[in-house]
């Protein structure tokens, strides 16, 4: 398949002296649809359908796409909160695709998640101190008291006052809660953090604070991010490289600059044309996509995007284009290139 070729080239660009931290190969995550009298599997929702991602140490990889395109599923599968149907996840050289139980629990120390909903992602019966010290106490035998200085330092680092230690999550605002969630993810000093739409539930004014905090922490703790969002301007602010997903497929991967300057895939072009412009005098052509996203349970034949693509040709319905490098570091899955 074309995929292997893509992978090799992706590993070679000039600035790739850095090690690859996360290597995802042909990842597929399907949700079975059960039906009928005996609850047999009668179909699959192909939430993630054959994607490849490589993330280098210290890099931020952005992942964008519409709601329901499989971004979150991808993130959760990478963290093994879901079990992939097929494919391989190599984290720091180790294959974590199939590990289970205690081995998986041990491996989790190195990759953590920041969740989307700051209200639902914190246990309402735990105090903030408990929430943040819990990950550490899952792996180390230490008393809460011994840990307290460490936790207070973390609280300070994410911009929360020391008094927060004894409070409960319901006493904080959305942005502060998200800081608690970030502190919890940081507590284990992980190598990778998957941030699943960490600011989409927040006020715009608070969004940038949280984003800047994430950026500062990245330098300080040497973090690698997989940053999932549906807001292109947020991703642009955060990411070194960006992957665009559509219906469980990766349609375009490029570094930040070239993706915005020169989007190649018709879907990416449509997405980027939808970013609001601050300057009202600047007119630009907005590409409005027709129709709805097809059901991932019954994806279209050929290119998944051909049903809505303004540039679709007859053969698009037959050939499913593979992701290939058309310019250095710029990969696109479209037969036009």
């Amino acid at each position: 398949m074309n995929m292997t070729e893509t992978r090799e080239t992706a590993a070679q660009p000039p600035e790739t002296e850095k090690e690859i931290l996360l290597d995802i190969q042909n990842l597929k995550t399907y949700y079975p649809i059960k039906g009928g009298f005996l609850k047999r599997t009668i179909g699959n929702v192909k939430a993630v359908d054959d994607i490849n991602i490589q993330i280098k140490k210290g890099e931020t990889m952005g992942l964008v796409g519409e709601s329901g395109c499989g971004k979150s599923t991808t993130g959760r599968t990478i963290l093994r909160l879901l079990t992939p149907t097929e494919g391989k996840i190599l984290f720091d050289g180790k294959d974590i695709t199939k590990i289970k139980g205690n081995a998986l629990r041990k491996a989790r120390q190195d990759f953590q998640m920041v969740f989307q909903d700051p209200y639902a992602s914190l246990n309402p019966t735990q105090s903030v101190g408990d929430i943040i010290s819990e990950p550490i106490r899952n792996y180390r035998r230490v008393s809460k008291k011994e840990l307290k200085p460490e936790i207070l330092e973390l609280l300070g680092r994410v911009g929360l006052p020391a008094e927060a230690y004894d409070k409960y999550a319901h006493e904080f605002s959305g942005g502060q809660r998200q800081r608690i969630g970030i502190a919890r993810a940081l507590a284990l000093k992980p190598k990778l953090i998957v941030a699943d739409e960490p600011v989409s539930a927040l006020d715009v004014s608070v969004q940038s604070q949280v984003l800047n905090l994430l950026k500062e922490l990245q330098d300080e703790f040497d973090l690698t991010y997989l940053f999932i969002a549906h807001d292109l301007s947020v991703v642009k602010h955060m990411s070194d490289r960006i992957g665009v997903m559509y219906l469980g497929n990766m349609v375009e991967v490029a570094d930040n600059k070239s993706l915005y300057a020169e989007p190649l895939h018709p879907y990416t072009q449509a997405l980027i044309s939808a970013i609001p412009e601050a300057d009202p005098k600047k007119r630009k052509e907005r590409i409005v996509l027709q129709g709805d996203v097809p059901s991932p349970a019954n994806p279209p034949s050929g290119c998944p995007f051909h049903t809505r693509c303004p540039m679709a040709k007859a053969e698009c319905a037959e050939i499913k284009p593979a992701l290939k490098e058309v310019k250095p570091g710029h990969h696109v899955a479209c037969i036009l290139y």
């Binding site: 989790r108 639902a120 992602s121 019966t125 105090s127 819990e134 899952n138 006493e171």
Partner: protein, 301 residues
């Protein structure tokens, strides 16, 4: 008006830095009906369990000289057909009835919670198997089963123990179903996913993250269950299949009213257990209601 808003402001301020439990406790303490009920129940419990220190009359000794006496200075609530002091038997009976109720509730809640939470958390085949088993147990005809089992074991094991075990074994199904449904809803929250991702073992996820968040339901359920199980004990004892006749319980005392002469002409023999039973059950239910309100974040009573 001004006062009211000031007061609610004050209560708002006070909830700061309080755990959800502390908030619930405050709400409960303000609920008059529930507080009166708790006070009453506590009194009944304390007096019952202190019975040996309160009266010295013998509960089992038959006294032919003092049969069916009306209430008097010597016998505050009169004597029954065997000449035993009704007041004394009421106290000792309360001890047994409450003990059976508490023991059964504890066992039922423990077993129901274990089954329900495992079924709800793991889902899939584990869930199906456990819930079909629960349905199976719930389908046993309660009365017939208790009668048969207590008939089989009578004489081998202590009658009271059998009663407690048999009632508990047949009653946990409801709790298991409720806990399962609550856990199913609760585990969809992202904090459960978060607890997995920070490395909690499944047992820890259930015990530390899921159960505290469904505990309010379990507590409310167990108060209602407590009332129901006291009634179950009394009903069985009334029919003669519950607590052995030699041990006084409220149900056993009530069974005297099976005789129409006692029912019609000697109310002091059966009225006291009936009244105390009714009020106890009522107050337990009021407490249950109070707890339900206290745990409900939307209620502002």
């Amino acid at each position: 008006m001004v006062n009211v808003t000031a007061d609610s402001n004050k209560s708002q301020e006070k909830t700061i830095n309080m755990s959800p439990w502390a908030i619930a406790r405050r709400k409960f303490l303000r609920n008059k009906l529930a507080m009166i009920s708790s006070f009453f129940l506590l009194t009944v419990i304390i007096i019952s369990f202190l019975a040996p220190f309160i009266t010295t009359a013998d509960i089992s000794k038959v006294n032919i000289m003092q049969m069916t006496l009306e209430p008097s200075g010597d016998h505050w609530l009169g004597t029954d057909k065997s000449g035993r002091d009704v007041f004394t038997r009421l106290l000792y009976g309360g001890r047994v009835s409450l003990l059976v109720g508490m023991a059964c509730t504890a066992l039922v809640v423990l077993f129901g919670t274990i089954v329900g939470s495992i079924a709800g958390f793991y889902g899939g085949i584990v869930d199906s198997a456990l819930m079909r088993f629960t349905d199976f147990v719930l389908n046993f005809p309660f009365l017939v089963f208790v009668i048969v089992l207590s008939a089989i074991f009578r004489g081998y094991v202590d009658g009271l123990t059998i009663l407690i075990v048999v009632i508990s074994l047949l009653s946990w199904g409801g709790v298991a179903r409720i806990v399962r449904s609550k856990i199913l809803a609760e585990k969809e929250n992202e904090y459960i996913l978060a607890s997995v991702s920070i490395g909690c073992k499944p047992s820890k996820v259930i015990i530390k993250h899921l159960l505290p968040n469904v505990l309010s339901t379990i507590i409310v359920q167990s108060t209602i269950l407590f009332a129901g199980l006291i009634v179950a004990e009394s009903g069985l004892s009334y029919l003669g299949f519950g607590v052995p006749q030699t041990i006084p319980s409220w149900g056993n005392m009530l069974s005297a009213s099976q005789e129409s002469d006692v029912l019609a002409n000697k109310p002091w023999i059966w009225m006291p257990p009936a009244i105390i039973l009714t009020i106890t059950i009522l107050s337990i239910n009021f407490i249950g209601e109070g707890l339900k309100d206290a745990f409900n974040p939307k209620s502002n009573r």
